[in-house]
Symmetry: C2
Subunit: 147 residues, 2 copies
DNA sequence: GGTGGACCTTCCCATGATGGGAGGGTCAAG
DNA sequence: CTTGACCCTCCCATCATGGGAAGGTCCACC
């Protein structure tokens, strides 16, 4: 299978397949005399593995680990589970964060007339923005020239 | 106020403040004789506006629009609301997507023993992919038709 | 045999928002 | 004057992805 067929079989663009080759994630089984990449079923399966993992939101770094575990028939499932659980926690944290954003914005949008008048609680909120809570990294200021 | 003080007052790194200058988003009011950027209260307020908008997940492009609306006292609030509503829809779509990922992964993780044995439903799922091939108990010899 | 077009190759560039760091100038306190 | 915190510009890197140029290869059709 050449790269185009590998792309069709895996759903990954040729650009990305070449990239995975370049970074050493999935290497073609061989090259033809004319330097075309040749993939066999094993690599196709790996590409599909990556496709699926990406669709579940794993980063390329996590996928590198998962792929290496996948190739290792002796891996303890605990290691895989740990990676998945960390990713779940990461997803959940980002969901919470985005829900907070959406909630705030829904409230502001709800309060905004959305007509031709300029008064806008959304802009008002952005203007009022919270003071940056300054944890202050530097204590002693030899040069406190600010007011 | 020089750039460091503007950074402290806005919560935005000096790197990013220089970047905003470079792309024309927030220009310093002036420069000193020694070419230091000088910000006054108006720019500080704009930087804080940006900080707050970023914390609500707006992209820089959206912020560019919002900032321009903020500067225009005649803007119709409708335009602001439209931007916010589109952003809310975007956030919600991403939340739904990530919830689906997290849900799938929670299920897989739940089914994974997470011990020293190699059997792992998580890797099995990634292997199975989402192709028209059977889901699970059908180890058919999907062979041939490639060469 | 020739030709056209679909394919393949490598190399370079761009994204968005951010940070790191080098190399050098400026400012105020000691 | 020295010191060191601060500022300047310029370049590079990220992460995953795509665009495109310049050139080589394959194959089916005439």
């Amino acid at each position: 299978m050449n790269i185009g067929q590998a792309s069709n079989a895996s759903g990954i663009s040729t650009k990305m397949i070449r990239y995975y080759d370049e970074i050493g994630l999935v290497r073609p089984a061989s090259r033809t005399d004319s330097n075309y990449r040749e993939y066999d079923q094993r690599e196709i399966n790996e590409l599909r593995f990556i496709k699926r993992a990406r669709s579940l939101g794993f980063s390329m770094e996590e996928i590198t680990q998962l792929l290496s575990l996948w190739r290792d028939r002796e891996r303890p499932s605990r290691v895989v589970k740990d990676i998945a659980d960390r990713h779940i926690a990461d997803l959940e944290a980002r969901i919470v964060e985005m829900q907070a954003m959406a909630g705030t914005l829904r409230h502001l949008s709800h309060c905004c007339a959305g007509d031709d008048r300029p008064d806008c609680p959304i802009l008002a909120d952005l203007t009022a923005g919270k003071e940056p809570t300054q944890p202050a990294k530097a204590p002693a200021r030899t040069r406190a020239r600010y007011s």
